[in-house]
Amino acid sequence: MKGQSFDAIVIGSGITGGWAAKELTEKGLETLVLEAGPLISAADYVEHVPVWEVKFRGMRDRKAELENQPIQRHIGDEWNAKFFVNDRENPYTTPPDQPYLFLRGRHLGGRSVMWGRQSYRWSDLDFEANLKEGIGVDWPIRYKDIEPWYDYVEDFIGVTGQAEGLPQLPDGKFLPPMEMNCAELVMKDAIAKKFPDRRLTIGRTAILTQAHRGRAACHYCGPCARGCITRSYFSSLNSTLPAAEATGKLTLRPYSVVHSLIFDPKTRRISGVRIIDGQSKQPIEFTARIVFLCASTLESARILLNSATPEFSNGLANSSGELGHNLMDHIMGGGATGIIPGHEDRVQIGNRPNGIYVPRFRNIKEKSPGFLRGYGFQGGGSREDWGRGSEMPGFGADFKHTLRQPGPWRFRFAGFGECLSNRDNRLEIDKGKVDAWGIPTLRISHKWRANELALLKDMQVTAAEMLEAAGAKDIVLSSTPSAPGEGIHEMGSARMGRDPKTSVLNAYNQTHDIKNLFVTDGSCMASSACQNPSLTYMALTARACDYAVGQMKRGEL
């Protein structure tokens, strides 16, 4: 069946699809956004549902999850499990020795509804690293190319944070910072005294600390990943999609599972997009002048691999052979926790939906032995709650009244380590296995290599050093690696680069091979840095839209 024709089609309504929709419609293009899942709205948000109204009181619907969400049960909670996919409908395979967690949602707004919201800029330390060290390919851009787009995106989404003047973590256009709690203030002072090369700052997060662009300030209820009725954190649903809708140029089509892109060998352009209607399961084709692929690192690569033609027999826009390769994620699991004695007469009030950040300090001025690149720490301080009671002797009135008071201050450092680009971390199509819509699925091969594991070992040492410097007791180290994918920072499957022979995308996220095809989600990344990547995806998307529309206006696209 033939569907309508548009100026632009955006595939995906998540964090980058929402930005592409906003930018393209605001620049005057009639834009179709294809979302694989259902529409959701503020009526689906559950952040204020009290724990006693949830069937298993927050312990999750264990048996239902084992049945339908054996992968997704590693993320989310009993409230927002509905925002994560049914794994039986969305299968994938891995080599037996390489378990991978593909954690995701399929609904309007995608993972921007449940994301972690931490928003950090990259610096030239990150953009230059591949070239300097001969890893992967050189980024075709530098900080000066993306800096105005970071400004532009931050101004729209609203990012709270504290300026620190660090070259490795450029400051942004911040809303007022959130307050640190007592344990964090102790730790900040201890680090400043003992480790001049390290800095503890409050997390930079896409949450409003004051009213901003028609959205209300955060009210500190806490569980952002369940939605936000006051739209105080950034998501496509709360922010970019309403802006796109306001232009009158947006057509939003839910239940549109993209099967493949249609390549016209005569014009060597994408002529349209073939979808399977999620409900009727009928195929439909939509046409457009340009296509923005924003379906996520894994799904965008899957769509391109599934769109192979005689001209591109190993995947569309894949003359380089790099499509699906060089998959990355941040390694987690390294860090330490301890008790900060004292300050028991003070507490944090409210549920601050943010933690602290220790920007990367390894391989900045001095070469760190044993590994390239580095890691940042997230985490923070909190007082223990009633949960400590099951490890405490006693019962009865005194026991109850002890648990009424908060317990000691605990501090936790959790590292996020850079993952080096490696060609053997890759995505392929598993032709023998299809999803609920009959579309061939992914086989994902990703394992941590020596450099990532060396970072993990170092994380626990440096975390423990800082805890010791702050006088912490009962320090416990951790260095159990997360599963690849568990960081939910997957990236790199259609990397940007300077040379069409070794990269899929050019400096503007345009495929080297097909002019009217842009890929702006995490698949474009040539390296992973150690910062949370979504802010960079957004800035690259806005920049690519500006370039694409400029080219169209000049008649070059």
Binding site: K63, E179, C221, A225, V347, P393
Partner: protein
Amino acid sequence: MERRNVLRLLGSAAVISAFPPDALALFQQAHAQAAQSPGLKAFNPHQDATVIAISEAIIPATDTPGAKAAKVNEFIDLLMGEWYEPADSARFLDGLDDVDKRSRRLFSKDFVDCTVAQQEQLLRALDGEAMTFAKQQSAALLAKKPAPPANFFYTMKKLTLAGYYTSEIGFEKELGKSIIPPSHAGCAPLTAEVNQ
């Protein structure tokens, strides 16, 4: 930072291997009977009464209501009926029966029929065993070794706390918390929070 936003009250369910098949059959039989008692999913009325008595002893009514008023027994019954694997529920019910066995040995009557002093004497012994288990479990976790077999009173106490503090009574009346906090501050005097 709550990146995961997971309320990890219990961690994953303890895996029980080599549970006696006859005990499992007994549990399934009991489960079928309990299903006929209105409102109960896993407990028979006597087991329910015992759970009410133990939970109230752990978190009694004081200046605020206790576990019985918060219907902690219904929460534990729901978990045993619908959340745990049948073998784990059977082990818990077995532990509950064992409380009566010990009570009859010591005081010649069921736990629910004991005096408060007798109940406390028995629970102190059970709590001591639970704390020994807690230490073994922590040590095993640190050493990355398998956890020791589940201890009944450790589980009972943990579920009582989970059921109580996630009830409306526990959350609002006992802890004085609200879903939307009236204010926020990083490092405030403790009294401000308790009176919020």
